[in-house]
């Protein structure tokens, strides 16, 4: 399998044109800065709830227009304290993804001042403090 190295981080190819790296949440900002330099944009932030492992996995999917590959950054946070640093100041386009992940799964992006509930979720769920895309949301 092919590998791609960006600033000391090694991305592994899992499928054609999909390169993956797993990092700690603390490394996100540094990595985002490196990836942006490769003429990339952030496609999406996909959060997957894994109650069995008491974790939420975040997948930051970047598309690099220079290498013409998808760079996927995986990181994990605990379900009780799902906090990661924001990257909005590095990639302004991350705004939508962060707002969405906060509203649907309750991931807190530290430093993003525009986070609020009710971005997508209706009032009745918000008032009960339910995050609909968590597996135990019961909706």
């Amino acid at each position: 399998m092919a590998e791609l190295s960006i600033g000391g981080y090694t991305f592994r190819e899992v499928e054609p044109r999909r390169y993956v790296v797993s990092v700690d949440p603390g490394r996100l900002r540094e990595l985002a800065e490196l990836i942006v330099r490769e003429e990339s944009y952030l496609s999406t932030i996909s959060a997957v709830d894994l109650p069995k492992e008491n974790a939420i996995e975040l997948n930051y999917v970047f598309w690099s227009t220079k290498h013409r590959v998808a760079l996927i950054v995986k990181t994990r946070v605990s379900r009780e304290r799902p906090v990661v640093p924001t990257i909005v100041d590095i990639v302004p386009g991350a705004l939508g993804g962060e707002l969405e992940a906060y509203d649907l799964l309750g991931i807190v992006f530290e430093g993003n001042t525009r986070l609020r509930r009710g971005f997508l979720v209706p009032e009745d769920l918000v008032s009960k403090g339910i995050y609909p895309l968590r597996k135990d949301a019961g909706v």
Partner: protein, 139 residues
Amino acid sequence: MGVSVIRYSPWIMHFNAGACNGCDIEVLAALTPFFDPERLGVRLAPNPRHADIILVTGALNKKAAERLRRLYEQTPSPKYVIACGACAISGGVFTDSYPVISRADRVVPVDVYVPGCPPRPEAILYGIKKLLDRVARGG
């Protein structure tokens, strides 16, 4: 009372209450000269205070349902509601999803249901015609 007034020239206001846009582009298509709704006197009203008929599409998202209720109140009597598409009639594929109410008639009284996913433009016009016929009979 006053019903005969709208018989000749009903103005329609289209309200998207969480539709997938499938219904909406067909409503739009139905209002262009290819299908020529103006032979029935039908025109698109820019605002609820001018409208006689509210055409609802979509699965009634909770936020949007609030709006629909408000719009219905703002529309002067006599007023009629057409529920257009499977979503507005029964929730369609979105039935029982957490952000939707599923049925237009849970929010406002509906006079005509136009089935289909989405209904053809001809079907939408036929639904309008049915309503007008009923109005002409004084119903």
